[in-house]
């Protein structure tokens, strides 16, 4: 499992993150170009707003799983923190609460992915497009679906390593990676 997680992290770091960053940089430059064209030359691409909106969002969707890996998604962490401060037994209870939260989140994401598949299929079948009609909608809905799938996969890894920690087994590489993530952000 550790090897699989290392491979997953490499996929996220070497492919997902740079792809998302390139989309953001590209869309920033496109938005900038459009501001210049509109106010200096009086010209405008009718597809620009759609491109900036949906390509930027696609980059953000791809990044959801990295936010999940870094525990960046906002939570109300009062209960686990209170428990963690009460002593070793309560600390274990706090770990269980955290694991339950991850397990529920993974299950819910799986459900959302399941509900999202017919939406993407409909977008393909009905050939729905963005407002400017320049881009097919299924590509961006697909990016959201992919983002949710990557997020769910990350949650499954977090769940596995959480259970391992509860069983007293060491997960050294995962913890080191987590600390490195925290330090980087």
């Amino acid at each position: 499992m550790e090897k699989a997680y290392a491979a997953w992290r490499a996929f996220q770091d070497r492919l997902l993150a740079p792809a998302a960053a390139l989309l953001l940089v590209g869309c920033t430059l496109l938005a900038l170009l459009e501001v210049g064209r509109r106010y200096l030359l009086g010209l405008s691409f009718e597809w620009q707003q759609d491109a900036v909106t949906f390509f930027t969002l696609s980059g953000v969707f791809l990044y959801f799983s990295l936010c999940q890996r870094r525990d960046a998604h906002l939570t109300v962490s009062v209960l686990p923190e209170l428990l963690a401060a009460l002593g070793p037994r309560a600390r274990r209870a706090a770990e269980i609460v955290r694991l339950l939260a991850v397990a529920f989140s993974a299950a819910f994401m799986a459900a959302v992915i399941w509900w999202g598949i017919p939406e993407v299929e409909d977008a393909i079948n009905y050939e729905s497009r963005t407002e400017s009609l320049a881009f097919p909608m299924w590509a961006f809905l697909g990016a959201l679906l992919a983002g949710f799938v990557f997020m769910a996969v990350t949650m499954v890894f977090q769940l596995y390593f959480g259970v391992q920690r509860l069983r007293g087994r060491s997960t050294p590489s995962e913890e080191r990676a987590h600390e490195a993530d925290k330090a980087a952000h």
Binding site: V76, L100, V112
Partner: protein
């Protein structure tokens, strides 16, 4: 409605991410309602965030991080020191002034508190400032960034409530400056009481030298606010222009070193954007359900039926926010409360711009209230000042912030006067 509320409460207490808790609570209702298909969860999430106006958020965040990479924070700080360092508590005053200037570039409070604590706290320590004072000051002054435009919380509020973002940006200026004034007054009084040494005498030549260095950084708010005021930019275009300014300035000052940092900086911006967009999409799911069930109307009817005056409602809401701010991050605070509270406020004829500024003032105070005061952790983590010391230091400044909130509650013109004066409706 009660079932959804109960599910949401349980999931939040169990530390399920707020975005997932919101969507799941809505989904729980959708699944048992025979008229609604569960696929709307996915559709509502996508539809709510698929708007051009929302792109101002990633672009402003990216612009802030890009400017941070150029090393301008220390430049702004040196300028602020040359401007205000001669006063009693001068270095503290300079810190607040630098926070205001950096706030006009970056909309992130935590980023500013972290950056400032690296630069300002060692200097304050070397000049004999007690740790509690320097830590508390930086943690509180960091919050000014979220009122001085561009402000991410104001952008989010504007998008969710469809209030003019330009109005909100201009409305944040006076309360933001009042916060700064409150912090400056507090630091001067504390410095006089503790008899802290003054750093240097006023030096006009040094001020001139440092202002030349800081000029490129100070040009960015002129571009953003000038463009918005002149009607040249929409907020999203202003954000793109801010990125363009940061790219040109960064490339001009650091050349290839800056270019090499472009993708890592975009990744940092995406990390924050990912969290915000996920949360906004989830609010979209929740709002879809609420709108379909006419919950805003029902809640409004009940609350208006209590006979609350607008001022009574504002005080009740502000009280809830102050408590909520202890446990929930600012952006989550906005997204959890606004969909429910805004229709009621609207029915009570409370100005949406006024409400937005009061809400964000509460968010600003929430960043220093434990146990979830993000700026406390940011300052304590980067400066190694123990958390209780930082917390102690925030108390006098927090009281100043509370005074500003009360002023804005009783005198709405402090928020609404500037947008009324400067922003002319097109239609």
């Amino acid at each position: 409605m009660l079932i959804v509320g109960a599910v949401l409460f349980v999931l939040l207490v169990l530390a399920v991410p707020i975005g997932i808790a919101l969507s799941a609570a809505a989904a729980a209702y959708i699944m048992v309602d025979p008229l609604l298909e569960p696929t709307v969860v996915f559709r509502a999430f996508f539809s709510f965030i698929g708007r051009y106006s929302l792109m101002a958020i990633p672009l402003f965040i990216f612009a802030g991080f890009l400017m941070e990479r150029t090393g301008l924070v220390s430049q702004l700080f040196r300028f602020a020191d040359s401007l205000a360092g001669w006063m009693p508590g001068g270095f503290g005053v300079a810190t607040v002034v630098a926070c205001v200037m950096f706030g006009s570039i970056s909309g992130s409070s935590v980023a500013m508190a972290a950056a400032m604590s690296v630069i300002a706290i060692p200097e304050m320590r070397s000049r004999g400032y007690p740790d509690w004072l320097s830590g508390g000051l930086v943690a509180t002054a960091g919050g000014i960034a979220i009122l001085i435009p561009p402000s991410i919380p104001l952008l989010i509020y504007g998008i969710v409530t469809e209030t003019s973002i330009v109005d909100l940006f201009f409305a944040g200026i006076i309360p933001g400056l009042l916060l700064a004034l409150g912090n400056i007054t507090s630091v001067i009084l504390i410095a006089l009481y503790l008899e802290l040494p003054r750093s240097s005498r006023f030096d006009a030549r040094r001020l001139w030298r440092e202002s030349k260095g800081a000029l490129p950084a100070l040009g960015m708010p002129v571009v953003i606010l000038g463009g918005l005021y002149g009607g040249v930019f929409t907020p999203t275009e202003a954000a793109a222009a801010a990125c363009g300014y940061a790219l040109i300035y960064g490339f001009g000052s650091r050349r290839m070193q800056f270019v090499r940092q472009l993708l890592p900086t975009a990744m940092r911006a995406l990390n924050l954007t990912g969290v915000i967009v996920f949360l906004i999409g989830s609010v979209g799911v929740f709002q879809f359900l609420a709108a379909n069930m006419y919950w805003p109307q029902k809640i409004t009817e009940v609350i208006v039926g209590w006979g609350l005056t607008p001022l009574g409602f504002i005080f009740a809401f502000m009280g809830v926010l102050l408590i909520l701010g202890m446990f929930v991050d600012g952006i989550a605070m906005i997204l959890l409360t606004v969909p429910v509270v805004f229709p009621v406020a609207y029915a009570l004829k409370i100005d949406p711009v006024h409400l937005g500024i009061m809400l964000v003032l509460n968010v600003e105070m929430g960043v220093v209230t434990p146990p979830v005061g993000l700026n406390l952790f940011a300052v304590s983590g980067t400066s190694s000042i123990p958390l209780p010391q930082v917390l102690k230091g925030t108390i006098p400044f927090f009281l100043g912030d509370l005074t500003v909130l009360l002023l804005v509650i009783f005198f709405p013109a402090l928020a609404t006067w500037l947008p009324d004066l400067l922003v002319k409706p097109i239609f």
